[in-house]
Symmetry: C2
Subunit: 304 residues, 2 copies
């Protein structure tokens, strides 16, 4: 698993691009560890309407003006394949990012990425081509992101310590995100789920100040959760984070953001969460790579 984690720095330098013509909107389909690449991309791309789909079909508006991108690391994710066929039926321009599988056979415009990893460990291979293909002039930022995550590979003793505390106190993590780090907060949640087999939750500023803040102050069970937020907020959102912590009295740990570009900052935080959840698994004496239940579910679904 550690070897997979340390490959992220190379993944971000992966040179692949997919072809596309002009388009007026983008729809990206993907689930779990593949879907998160689309979610992160959708949070930084805003040149046209963009929607992510984690389901079997695409919205009714999809047509020849749509660039539809299917992302499935294995190429065999049933929801993504179904969404791909739906998008094709609706006349969208299609592309796929995958290491192989059915998707590589049914999509003529497929970018093949290196296989052999856990999908969630291949986030760089899936995200870098989206950025390289659709955001001109982004190669410098991807290089910076690569350097930034490499620093975590070589220095993560503190993350290990934090993960140890979390698990020994038997708390479940709640990660507070804000734009452009909402998908990062969700990524942390899912990495705790898959690597450490721990429930985890995410919430977002400023939205949570309109509802969850009431519960943070006085819910039973609030001390069974561990709260984390990212540094790097500015303006009103920064003020809101400070005031929310003060008013509710929760103990919230700040996770430091590093990097200059948004892409580097996002990947820094993603990688921080990768190690955090990995070390949480180690502390729980759980194999981080194990996803037996997901495999069992796929088998059950294939039999009906």
């Amino acid at each position: 698993m550690l070897e997979e984690l340390t490959s992220l720095k190379e993944q971000l330098l992966f040179q692949g691009k997919f072809e596309h013509q002009e388009f007026k909107n983008i729809v990206i389909a993907g689930m779990g560890g593949s879907g998160i690449a689309g979610s992160i991309f959708a949070e930084i791309f805003d040149a046209c309407p963009i929607e992510t789909v984690s389901d079997y079909s695409v919205p009714a508006y999809v047509n020849h003006d749509t660039l539809f991108i299917a992302i499935s690391y294995s190429g065999n994710t049933e929801e993504t394949i179904s969404a791909f066929r739906d998008a094709e039926r609706k006349g969208a321009q299609t592309a796929a990012i995958t290491s192989g599988g059915t998707l590589s056979k049914i999509c003529r415009n497929t970018l093949i990425i290196p296989g052999g990893l856990q999908p969630r460990s291949a986030i760089g291979y899936m995200l870098a081509p989206l950025i390289a293909s659709l955001i001109p002039g982004s190669s410098g930022d991807l290089k910076e992101a690569s350097r930034t995550v490499e620093k975590i590979d070589s220095s993560n003793a503190q993350i290990k310590e934090e993960a140890g505390v979390l698990v020994r106190e038997k708390k479940l993590p709640v990660i507070f995100g804000f734009k452009p780090f909402e998908s990062v907060a969700y990524r942390w949640q899912t990495q705790f789920n898959e690597n450490a087999k721990m429930l985890a939750f995410s919430a977002f500023f400023p939205e949570l100040d309109h509802n969850q803040i009431m519960a943070l102050e006085s819910s039973y069970g609030r001390d069974s959760l561990a709260y984390y937020y990212f540094s790097g907020a500015s303006g009103r959102v920064r003020d809101r984070i400070k005031f929310t912590i003060d008013l509710t009295g929760i103990e919230a740990r700040q996770i430091p953001v590093e990097g200059r570009s948004r892409i580097a900052q996002i990947m820094h935080l993603v990688h921080y969460g990768d190690y955090f959840s990995y070390y949480a698994a180690i502390e729980r004496k759980i194999e981080p790579r194990d996803v037996t239940t997901i495999e069992k579910l796929k088998k059950l679904l294939s039999q009906i």
Copy 2:
């Protein structure tokens, strides 16, 4: 509070519409109890790209092709006002739904709705005009929705009992949604937050089968949560819900969906959650209307 709840059936019959010209995409801004109207609408409307914004600004692509709708029950929500100004600056066609406040003064195309309620109790006033204005032929569905929620007003003893069990067992609710009930699951979460001052979380099928399922099976703390899912799923999603519960061994309670049209089904589930969270507050001996901490936060923010 009960009086506010029982007004939903009339709200759904509210006849207001806002004006609009042609558009190619929609952006709806709103926070908390006002924002949820936009989220529910975005889940049922798919004639063009639609995005909800819970923040201070709108995406860069917003221009004269965009119909921008600001929803703020008070008319004074700072994020929504800021997003409105941003959308105007970017040349969008604008509309607002509000009971008054600043928004009614700065937006020329404002639909005024009845005031005096808690924003989260006025969801019908904010949702019905979106549907009436943008989905032709929807008045029958809104009438059905009104009749469907009325049934809950007159018969909710079982919901009271369920809420009593939840609170006495000191569990935190996790609500599993799926399309078109993802926003409903989030609405339940926020109603538990504001009414009952309880932490609550939501997750979505089929996405959660790619990550959270691993934690549902073996996370510590999983028995401190109470799991709910809605009836009414079909096909693969229905199979997934069944298999996920079987494989993980979680105790999950099914919430029955009623109504024929999607709008009626959604409003039935919304209203079920309204009562559930209301009775949870009563069981906790907490005033459901109280949102003192949110008010304190607004005051702090106004002073800097």
